[in-house]
């Protein structure tokens, strides 16, 4: 019976103080009744292995005691979906900008890069900082929601007005036709401008009293922009005909924007402007202005890269949404547009 006493003691440990004796007395009586019945069937006393087996079937002491405890929850089912959403938003709003800032510092700040030359060590230090901060943020949100649960905040949520519900969202994969038309018009204008005014030359705006001189690298930029404008016209035309993003068209948009972002950002770095000539500006003054323009465009390179990365993130998210999130496009587009 030593085993039974040990079992009862273990259960007792987890029970609420006020009910310990009462529950243990009843549980003890129930187990003794079962033992008695088994002994009477067998015609002998139970050995330790049989008693151990009987107690094992009753369950681990903490589980047995748990059934007598009031059912408690830190955050109940009413507040839990809101808690989960807030947690996701806060973590995303904290972690994503933190990672972006780190990438920008590593790419553009030579001092920071030199101070963090050991990549593995840097990653470890960033991971531990991020992890700790995310943990603190999650703990704070959990605490707030646990308090809301305790103060019965959910009862306030029960009072609501159906009229205050947000409007039905449009299909996220729908491409506005107006947008496609504007895209075709803008890109057509670009193609016409680039091809009509001899923009492939390194001397553009070639007027009698004003000329702008570009570096030879401009030719690559020119052909790049021209090619991308043609791709964008074709894509916008396809989008106009079928105004729902498909995985293939979303991928083409991503590739096109990769090209566009690289060319656009490079414009800020390669000192594309080599000079200009104007009748009322001296060559020395023109050289000074050119140098200042190149200096400031060089400074804006980081902003151009960030801008490009944001666009590419949006494009990548669109592919993800098309493939895994949104409902498929309806067969008849008129049904949705109506």
């Amino acid at each position: 019976m030593d085993l039974l006493e040990r079992y009862l003691q273990a259960v007792k440990f987890w029970l609420p103080k006020a009910q310990k004796q009462d529950i243990i007395a009843e549980l003890s009586e129930d187990i003794r009744s079962e033992i008695e019945e088994k002994e009477s069937t067998l015609g002998r006393g139970l050995n330790e292995a049989e008693l151990s087996d009987l107690l094992k079937k009753r369950g681990r002491p903490v589980f047995v005691a748990n059934r007598y405890l009031p059912q408690e929850q830190l955050i109940g089912p009413v507040l839990f979906p809101i808690y989960r959403l807030v947690l996701k938003i806060v973590l995303a709003c904290y972690l994503v900008p933190a990672v972006l800032v780190w990438i920008i510092l590593m790419v553009f700040n030579s001092g920071y890069r030199a101070a963090h030359a050991n990549v593995l060590e840097t990653l470890g230090s960033i991971w531990s900082t991020l992890w700790f901060s995310a943990f603190v943020a999650a703990a704070a949100i959990t605490l707030v929601f646990a308090i809301l649960e305790r103060v019965q905040f959910r009862s306030r949520l029960e009072d609501w007005n159906p009229r205050s519900l947000p409007a039905v969202r449009k299909n996220a994969n729908l491409i506005p036709r107006f947008g496609s038309i504007v895209e075709i018009a803008a890109n057509t204008f670009l193609v016409v401008w680039l091809t009509t005014y001899n923009m492939s030359s390194t001397t553009i705006f070639n007027f009698a009293n004003f000329q702008v001189f570009l570096s030879p690298a401009w030719r690559y930029v020119f052909w790049g922009f021209l090619l991308l404008a043609l791709v964008n016209i074709a894509l916008a035309a396809a989008n106009l005909a079928r105004p729902y993003w498909s995985a293939s068209r979303a991928t083409i948009r991503l590739l096109s924007d990769v090209g566009g972002s690289v060319i656009f950002a490079s414009l800020f770095k390669i000192h594309i402007l080599t000079g200009f000539a104007a009748t009322d500006v001296s060559p020395e003054r023109a050289a000074e202005i050119t140098s200042a323009i190149n200096f400031w465009t060089g400074k804006m390179f980081a902003a151009a890269v960030v801008f490009g990365v944001i666009i590419l993130c949006i494009d990548a998210f669109r592919i993800f949404r098309v493939k895994w999130c949104a409902s498929p496009a309806p067969k008849s587009t008129s049904t949705v547009i109506a």
Binding site: A25, E26, R58, G59
Partner: protein, 122 residues
């Protein structure tokens, strides 16, 4: 349907019926162990980890009364239905019969509907 899903639904279905079975069985005085045996003999097996907390809850709600008494040289806690419990049991049984009748009606209608559909399709 997986056996796990079925088991969860079965337990959910039985949970409400167990309260009814316990209250019905306690129209006559019982202590925990004999109550468990009686229920098991009638096909309503319930493990002790569920029964004793349930008895405590029902007692806290005033549906059962209990007393410790010595029997066969051992102290046992005997439970029986309280006057309030008798009243609630009566209402619960009426409710259960109403649910049973409704379910039978739905089943009957569904069966007839299926037969009609089959006949029409032929």
């Amino acid at each position: 349907m997986t056996s796990e899903s079925f088991e969860n639904l079965r337990l959910e279905l039985r949970r409400g019926c167990l309260v009814l079975a316990v209250l019905t069985a306690l129209r006559s005085e019982q202590y925990g162990y004999t109550l468990r045996k009686i229920l098991a003999e009638h096909g309503m097996a319930i493990d002790e980890g569920t029964l004793y907390p349930l008895l405590r809850r029902l007692e806290a709600q005033g549906l059962l009364s209990s007393e410790w008494r010595e029997e066969e040289k051992r102290n046992k806690r005997f439970y029986r239905l309280s006057p309030n419990g008798k009243q609630v049991l009566k209402q619960l049984l009426a409710e259960w019969q109403s649910i049973d009748a409704s379910l039978r009606e739905v089943l009957k209608e569904q069966t007839n509907g299926s037969s009609r559909t089959l006949l029409t399709s032929r």
